[in-house]
């Protein structure tokens, strides 16, 4: 089986090249990058006017499987990933049971193997039951194929335990992913603390809670000389702290999500529970600082924090709604806005969507002869209106329904197989 992606603009930042060319794929691998491909007996994907990039990697998704399959399961999650242009995803461990045992990790791999081909890499729990009380069997989890550890959503508050988690995990080269939140400050919070929480009459979660925990975790990483990854950075102060520790030479990487560069806390005015996210949508100054951090390289990656919830869970009084929104299928156009607004060059956009290869040590990040053909083709100019009812995800919890956006995934290719293509 031979596939030729013809005449696209190949954006290959790791190789340092952006050029109009074609890619020949055989047996799941890239066999040739050439302007004059031999298309005899080949399936041809015409990528004229499109960008052809290394497969996108989303290092932060929640697939709810096992335990909450009514929100999302691994199959629907992988379909949503493919529709969003992602060829690899890293799943967070807050399933039921939590991914704190090797059987659950194996189950995830087995289910993913029966999926559409998009690669799934589980992030395991750092502590037993995500309870923040005792160490998970990190060695066995690593052996089972977990790619990192995290207590995402229920951050470790006990600093001594955090130290031990990082120390113990280092034996197995497992990196800790920090969901940075001071639970005392956010306990009853519904949104960011600021002018809009005052006006809307809701309890606020101050930026300080996120930033202080990022500071703590970065200090710990520097002290232990271990890498750490900071999840979903949402605030200007957080950016400054990450910058401070990066400049000191600590091994820190960080991600943000498309919603933090698109919306602010003003968006909660309609009391739409699809604007309830953790960390919360912040102020306009924070939004601009996060965009700048993407530009400056302080934030390394875009991750969606894809968090499906069933409509009946979201159609409730605001305080009773769970936090989180789906993100896989809207990420690209939201981030491409920065390209259209001339904030970021296309090479940087592609870097941000593929940085998972270096952060998590996943195969990918570049298109090269001999490498697995994980490729994302997208049309940067295609205009469409987000319709949540068209999502491949089982869930519909998005604040972007009805948004007019520019840029769409044309095809998602994993190991040389087209797992998604859009009917324009």
């Amino acid at each position: 089986m031979k596939l030729v992606i013809k005449n696209g603009t190949v954006v290959n930042p790791l190789v340092g090249k952006t050029e109009k060319t074609s890619i020949v794929i055989e047996n799941g691998k890239v066999t040739e990058i050439t302007a004059k491909p031999d298309t005899k007996d080949a399936e041809v994907f015409n990528a004229e006017g499109m960008f052809v990039a290394p497969g996108f990697i989303d290092i932060h998704v929640h697939f709810r499987d096992p335990g909450f399959e009514y929100k999302e399961d691994i199959f629907s999650g992988l379909e949503a990933a493919a529709a969003g242009g992602f060829t690899s995803v890293c799943t967070m461990p807050n399933t039921k049971p939590a991914a704190d045992n090797v059987e659950t990790i194996r189950y995830m791999y087995e289910r993913a193997a029966k999926g559409n081909g998009v690669k799934l890499y589980p992030i395991a729990a750092a502590t037993k039951g995500l309870k923040g009380e005792s160490l998970a069997p990190i060695g066995e989890l690593a052996e089972g194929g977990a790619i990192a550890i995290s207590d995402d959503g229920r951050p470790i508050q006990n600093t001594d335990l955090l130290k031990r988690v990082m120390e113990y995990a280092s034996t197995f080269d497992m990196m800790y992913v920090s969901h940075s939140e001071d639970l005392y400050l956010s306990e009853t919070a519904q949104m960011n603390e600021g002018y809009y929480s005052t006006v809307y009459g809701m309890t606020g979660n101050p930026v300080v809670g996120e930033a202080s925990q990022i500071a703590r975790d970065c200090m710990m990483a520097e002290y232990l000389k271990l890498p750490i990854h900071i999840a979903h950075v949402s605030a200007a102060l957080s950016v400054d702290i990450i910058k401070f520790f990066k400049e000191r030479g600590a091994k820190i990487t960080a991600e943000t999500a498309p919603h933090y560069i698109t919306l602010t806390d003003e968006a909660l005015g309609g009391f739409d529970t699809n604007t309830k996210i953790n960390p919360p949508l912040r102020s306009e100054a924070d939004r601009l600082a996060v965009i700048k951090a993407l530009k400056d390289g302080i934030i390394d990656a875009i991750a969606t924090d894809h968090a499906p919830h069933h409509q009946r869970e979201k159609e409730v009084e605001f305080n009773n709604a769970p936090s989180g929104i789906v993100g896989l299928e809207t990420a690209l156009p939201l981030v491409l806005k920065l390209y259209h607004d001339k904030e970021l060059p296309i090479e940087r956009i592609v870097e941000l969507f593929t940085a998972g290869y270096k952060i998590m040590g996943i195969d990918g990040g570049k298109i090269e002869v001999g490498a697995p053909a994980d490729i994302t083709v997208f049309d940067p100019d295609y205009q469409w209106t987000v319709d949540k009812n068209m999502f491949k995800s089982k869930s519909r919890n998005t604040p972007f329904h009805g948004f007019h956006v520019k840029g769409a995934v044309s095809a998602t290719i994993v190991d040389g197989k087209i797992v998604y293509s859009r009917d324009f």
Binding site: Q190, E193, G194, Y195, S197, T198, V199, Y200, G201, M202, T203, G204, G270, F271, R312, E315, V316, E317, F318, N319, N320
Partner: protein, 304 residues
């Protein structure tokens, strides 16, 4: 206007229209027979998902004097206790064909949610810390009747601003009508960036009360003391209670207001509460006039 969700989205003319309409209902409420057929045949559900004596009774009195058929639901007696979601309860109530639902709920934004689920008029009787529009309107009515207008008045708003929907609705309303609001309360009870709502923030009540035309007290929610808002009642009353001495700093003819229920000896001294300047019970009487006006304008007045 179909719903009354808050003061934020009302303009000055709409507010004055409500107050002026309330005047004619005040007249009715002075009669021997305080009942008119205006809303005969209309069905109104009062859904109170949070304890309330004053507001609920006031709405019910207003509805009955307008001859509407009214039904009261409290959470303890509703299907929500049995695990039904609010959305499903709302759909079921909608199926019974009410013309309006008056809703009190502890979560901000719930009345807005109901407008998306139900077809009838939704009247916000207080949501979370967000808004309590009819309270602000009855406060405005009281001020208007007593002071003849709003322009240039200084209103001191004292106490727990953070948790107060009354404060937010009053700030919106008084600003729209040209009054000036000074607020004061302990730091734990002042929400962030509240000055951007167009109020002057004073550290201690004595600065806010200085030369005020109106001193409006807010209830200290005793049940919140456990939330580390203030050390104890003794300390709170020492610095934030409206005493006769504090009131002397206001204008001589200043009015003392309180949305109730008041904690005597905590945020307001008995002498002040029962004193000549207090219009607290007048507020309650005016509540019926104003709520009749709101119901009339939403349900009966539009097509007349």
């Amino acid at each position: 206007m179909k719903h009354l969700l808050g003061i934020e989205n009302l303009n000055k003319d709409q507010i004055m229209n409500i107050l002026e309409t309330a005047v004619s209902f005040a007249e009715i409420n002075q009669r021997q027979i305080k009942k008119v057929p205006t809303l005969k045949g209309k069905t109104i559900i009062n859904f109170f998902a949070e304890p309330s004596t004053r507001t609920r009774t006031s709405f019910e009195v207003a509805e009955k004097r307008l001859s509407a058929d009214t039904y009261n639901i409290a959470v303890s007696g509703s299907a929500i206790q049995k695990g039904e979601t609010l959305a499903d309860t709302a759909l079921n109530l909608q199926a019974m064909g009410p013309d309006a639902m008056v809703i009190r709920h502890s979560v901000s934004g719930t009345p807005q949610l109901l407008t998306e689920i139900m077809d009838c008029s939704i009247i916000n009787a207080g949501d979370g810390f967000h808004e309590h529009p009819t309270q602000a309107l009855l406060d405005a009515y009281t001020i208007w009747q007593r002071k003849g207008g709003f322009e240039g008045l200084k209103v001191a708003l004292l106490g727990d601003i953070y948790h107060s929907r009354v404060a937010r609705s009053n700030i919106y309303l008084l600003n729209k009508m040209g009054a000036h609001v000074s607020i004061s309360g302990p730091g734990t009870m002042l929400p962030k960036e509240v000055e951007k709502m167009g109020v002057t923030v004073e550290k201690l009540p004595k600065y806010a009360v200085q030369d005020a035309d109106i001193v409006m007290m807010l209830r200290v929610q005793n049940e919140r003391a456990s939330n580390l808002l203030y050390p104890d009642v003794r300390e709170y009353s020492r610095y934030f209670m409206l005493t006769p001495e504090l009131l002397k700093l206001a204008k001589k003819d200043a009015l003392v207001m309180h949305p109730g229920p008041a904690n005597r000896g905590v945020e307001i001294d008995d002498v002040v509460m029962d004193g000549e300047q207090s219009v607290i019970l007048e507020q309650v009487s005016n509540g019926v006039n104003v709520r009749m006006a709101v119901l009339y304008l939403l349900l009966g007045g539009a097509d007349k």
